[in-house]
């Protein structure tokens, strides 16, 4: 039963971030929502096989209490991908605000249309 509650929290957060994306007025909220979305997926992966009294998969003698090492290895990769994407997004944000003087989706769209 333990893992399911963590899983449901992760699902709820996933949709909270989707809510953030849908209501995002500008690019900044979009970027922040994407960060939150990524972390919610990480939490879901780590919740697989969770139960109380779990130990990190380090050393030979942890036995049945060890957490699953594979999702952890995957999620380190996912987190690094996340930060790389965030850095690129931030640079684009600055570039956009420099060129359009705004970062709101509606205004950006309008300016693009006018061109």
């Amino acid at each position: 039963m333990n893992y399911e509650i963590v899983e449901i929290f992760a699902v709820v957060l996933f949709f909270v971030s989707l809510f953030g994306l849908i209501t995002s007025k500008g690019v900044i909220k979009g970027i922040v929502s994407i960060i939150i979305m990524e972390i919610s997926v990480v939490m879901f992966f780590l919740s697989l096989g969770f139960r109380s009294g779990i130990l990190p998969p380090i050393g030979g003698d942890v036995g049945q209490n060890a957490a699953d090492p594979l999702p952890q290895a995957l999620m380190i990769t996912a987190i690094i991908i996340g930060v790389a994407v965030t850095a690129v997004n931030m640079t684009m944000l600055i570039a956009l605000s420099r060129q359009f003087k705004t970062t709101e989706w509606d205004l950006l769209k309008k300016m693009k249309m006018d061109e």
Partner: protein
Amino acid sequence: MLPYFVIAPIFIAVFLYVFSSVRAAKVVAIAAQTVFTGFAGYLFFLVKAGEIVTSIGAYESVMGIVLRADTLSSVFVALTAISFLMAALYSYNENEGKLFWFLLFVWQGLLIGIFLTRDLFNIFVLIEVAAVVVSVLVMYNRDNRSMYDGMFYLMTGIIAMQFYLFGVGYIYKLTGVLDMEAAAVILAQLDRSSLILPYALIITGVGLKCAILPLFSWLPKAHGSPSAPSSVSALLSGVHMKSGVYLFMRVQPLFQGVDASTFFLVVGIITGIAGFVLAMSQNDIKLLLAYSTVSQIGLIISSLSLGNEYANTGGLYHAFNHALFKAALFMGAGVLSKAYGTRNLDEIRGVFKRFPLVGVAMFMAILGITGAPLFNGSISKYFIMYGTTWYITWLFILLNLGTITVFAKFSAMLFGRRGDEGAGQQTLKFVRKVETDLHHRDAVAKPRNYSEAIPINKQIAIIALGLICFVGGIFGSEFITFLFNVEVSIDTAGYLEKTAFFAGSVLVGILFCKYFVQKSKLLKRLRAIDFGFRGTCVALGGFFATVLIVLGFF
């Protein structure tokens, strides 16, 4: 052996970036692409003898990452190699920096990685990296609009991949493995209700990558971005889109219990119709081609969902062909928009007179995409329609009629006299006149050169692609047997019947184009339709919910 097909381009990319000058980089790039195409052909012949499976590091297959090359993936690898060779040839004399070549090679490696890998998480990693590479390439020239386009593409792509990753998590939870083949075996034993959620999550992510109906708004932005290099648009439409289609095909066998073929048949046909309606409304060469890609993808997706052998093979062959003729068209559009100084369709006229070779090659590509007899499109469309029920056949004929109308509009620019070049050229002439008047010089002293000749390497690339379209039509069934190891034969009577249909549709299409498309006000209003970022997020959620509801409750 297989991992080197992925590692080698990336390694060459790093080598080019670190050690060589721009001039040397170009030469090395062309040479490397040629050699690589040879290797891809070699792989293709190896695979004909039997599937190649490589477990990286010789660990047990479920524990490590497994690469496999079967007929399907080797065809796509060969396609990637050919397209990138042509794109490299095309961009040889453009003054892009080293960074362009670096990104091009990395992109090639990533795409081949997607085609070869059998690991679900590995696909996620490759697609994320490819998304960043593509967005940097789209905004390579850093002008206002391409910044927005690149950012839009990157952010929507990342969100879709989060859906995909969530789905991979559920597959791991259910099966305990990430290898596609092992997972398929275990998932086949589970009951349907537990498969619906992972399927919906994964197909939402993959659906955005193949740009099916509510999720395609990134495509015209990324493909039609004005300042993106034309070779990048050609590769995006030709090969990058096919990675989405490829994943769509690879995901289906995982979920044999969930039969979503009817749903995707409907979605594919609606996508096709929406694609050509939007394409008709465009006046910009690149945007028209981009929306036409949406329409063709709809056709491919629906033919892959039909579930009979012939339609499947036809759909695959069409995906292959589409890469060739769309690449030729995008490259031609790039050349023409540079030569005429405009991207407006109404202002380009008389290509046949001015650039006969490019004009003929582009016309061949147009004949290919519209499915004219003797060209490759006709063969693939013939097999797609083979043995379908009557209403689906008529829907496909409608789709083809739409394509013909779109390209009737497009090919208007090929004809006409050299003189009547339309408003853009007249404006240029006027500007030139004003300039000369202003400076009180004689009119012929220094005419600004707006129409350089097309460089020879670009001509070679475009003509080669056009010729492949023609050859692929003449030897259609042999090509299919050669590529996909499927024995097919063309029934002459049926083919003639399709030819008659084609002739009829051409007539209707041209009339429709002349009397409705070029005048209609409604289409002009359609041109402004744009989902925007939030709209795309809503569409992602809505698509996900629709898949869940359709599969879960009906």
